[in-house]
């Protein structure tokens, strides 16, 4: 049936940006809360006393936004570096150990947000004998920037596909009108205005949009159902209890609202144009 086909096309056109958007929302909420995230590397002044590192570590552990602190003395750091880099013998040429004492601070879960960690970084940097505080948050900022770009791409895609919906509905309505040509001629001869003749086609456009929107929501719900188990499993492997969230009430309403609106628009444009061209002979 032509009507079902039209609704299916609308559903496909709407399901794609909807699915991408759901995926994006989930990614956003997932990146808002990282558990195992970033350790903060605190590099102490080379001139600091050897007792400074453990003292500072004890101080930091008392903070509520700190979960754990690991002390890496200069000697331990050099030894790690020696094994890791393979420069073994070359390092013997060094007279002094160039590396400083280091503290690896793990933020608590509550302050694992970008703001929380920035605040912690600020606080640590203010302590005495602290040379450098480093959080490897760069890649998170990059991820956020990437997500913003993806968001824009999704909106552009949605815009294009929305135009596609208007055109598809317009074409179907055009064919409907051609099929009912003689009926429209008779109506006009008996004194019907263009608006009167157009009305049933506008209703049809609204129905096409509504049906397509509902199908799109259904399709995305199925897709999310299929994806949730593997995604949750993966999250568990990363120590997270993240759960895939589907399309919320607000987004569903927005999808239905726009699909109905697009369906109405498509049929309005097509019906106005083609009914005007039909005159009794």
């Amino acid at each position: 049936m032509g009507a079902l086909m039209t609704m299916a096309v609308i559903a496909v056109a709407l399901a794609l940006p909807l699915f991408l958007n759901v995926f994006l929302q989930n990614t956003r909420s997932a990146t808002a809360n990282w558990n195992q995230v970033f350790d903060i590397s605190v590099y102490l002044d080379k001139k600091a006393a050897a007792t400074r590192a453990p003292a500072l570590a004890a101080q930091l552990r008392k903070r509520p936004d700190v979960a754990a602190v690991r002390v890496v003395t200069a000697d331990e750091a050099l030894a790690e570096f020696r094994t890791a880099s393979g420069f073994g013998d070359a390092l013997n040429a060094l007279a002094d150990n160039p590396l400083p004492d280091t503290l690896i601070v793990t933020p608590s879960v509550n302050s694992s947000t970008l703001e929380g960690m920035a605040a912690l970084k600020q606080a640590i940097a203010g302590a005495s004998d602290v040379q450098t505080v480093q959080i490897d948050t760069e890649w998170v900022t990059r991820l956020v920037a990437l997500i913003d770009i993806l968001h824009r791409i999704i909106w552009l895609t949605a815009g294009l596909l929305g135009l596609g919906v208007v055109l598809v509905v317009g074409n179907t309505i055009r064919l409907d009108i051609l099929n009912r040509r003689s009926e429209i001629e008779v109506m006009k001869l008996v004194g019907a205005t263009d608006g009167f003749a157009r009305r049933p086609f506008l209703y049809a456009g609204v129905w096409y949009g509504l049906g397509g929107g509902l199908l799109a929501l259904l399709a995305v719900a199925v897709a999310i159902g299929v994806m949730s188990r593997p995604v949750e499993h993966l999250a568990l492997l990363y120590g997270s209890r993240f759960q895939l969230k589907g399309v919320g009430f607000g987004m569903s309403a927005a999808v239905l609202g726009s699909s109905v609106g697009l369906g109405w628009l498509g049929s309005w444009v097509a019906a106005t144009r083609h009914i005007r061209g039909i005159e009794p002979t």
């Binding site: 003689s182 009926e183 001629e185 008779v186 109506m187 006009k188 001869l189 008996v190 004194g191 019907a192 205005t193 009167f196 005159e279 009794p280 002979t281």
Partner: protein, 223 residues
């Protein structure tokens, strides 16, 4: 009711259908447009129904110059008319009652009023009881009568018909013509285009003869 004043009609394909036609039909008159095919009978009816516009000259309907009616005003104008075609032009996807009710639905009448008028119109054409039938279930004569019911249901002042008896056998054709005469008797102006001369002779009505787009003869009884 109708006045044609030196009307010329040339179609887009170059065919000259009317070459200077002038006549007048009074309120409540019944007139036949006669002549061979291509004489211009249908063109005159099309100009009355505003399906076409005159190339030159003026057409007055109800003392109103049709040149002053803009495209937006045409639907309103056509509601004052009853039009009957040769091929009845019924909508096959709906029952007879809905077909007859169409002009009233367009006019926005209440459902109760519509039902009353539709029944009255079907009664006038002798088809009471066929409201729920589909057009294709009816005979040709009955279908033609449904078309006439639709044309009169809105109680128009003017009824025009283009070869309304073309497909019908003589007995049926006479019946249909008598129907038109009955409407004329209650005051409706009736203009019928037909080339059935035998039928016209039976009725004492005005005849406007056309040939090659011109009036060839005008005669018949005075109103």
């Amino acid at each position: 009711m109708i006045r044609f004043d030196q009307v010329h009609k040339r179609y887009a394909n170059g065919r000259e259908a009317l070459a200077g036609v002038s006549f007048a039909i009074e309120d409540g008159e019944m007139a036949f447009l006669t002549g061979p095919s291509g004489a211009g009978k249908s063109s005159i009816l099309k100009l009355i129904a505003l399906i076409e516009r005159p190339t030159r000259g003026q057409v007055f309907i109800g003392r109103q110059n049709t040149a002053g009616i803009k495209p937006r005003g045409i639907p309103q104008f056509r509601r004052r008319l009853g039009v009957v075609f040769q091929d009845h032009k019924l909508l096959h996807d709906r029952p007879v009652a809905d077909n007859v009710a169409l002009p009233l639905i367009i006019a926005g009448m209440s459902k109760r009023e519509i039902d009353k008028r539709v029944r009255a119109a079907l009664d006038q054409v002798g088809l009471l009881g066929k409201e729920k039938s589909r057009p294709l279930e009816l005979s040709t004569g009955e279908q033609q009568r449904v078309g006439i019911a639709r044309a009169v249901v809105g109680k128009p002042e003017l009824l025009i018909a283009d070869e309304p008896t073309g497909n019908l056998d003589p007995a049926l054709a006479l019946e249909i013509m008598q129907l038109f005469k009955r409407f004329n008797d209650v005051g409706v102006t009736v203009v019928i285009a037909t080339h059935d001369v035998h039928l016209i002779d039976r009725f004492n009505a005005r005849c406007i003869g056309l040939r090659d787009g011109r009036i060839a003869a005008a005669g018949g009884a005075a109103p």
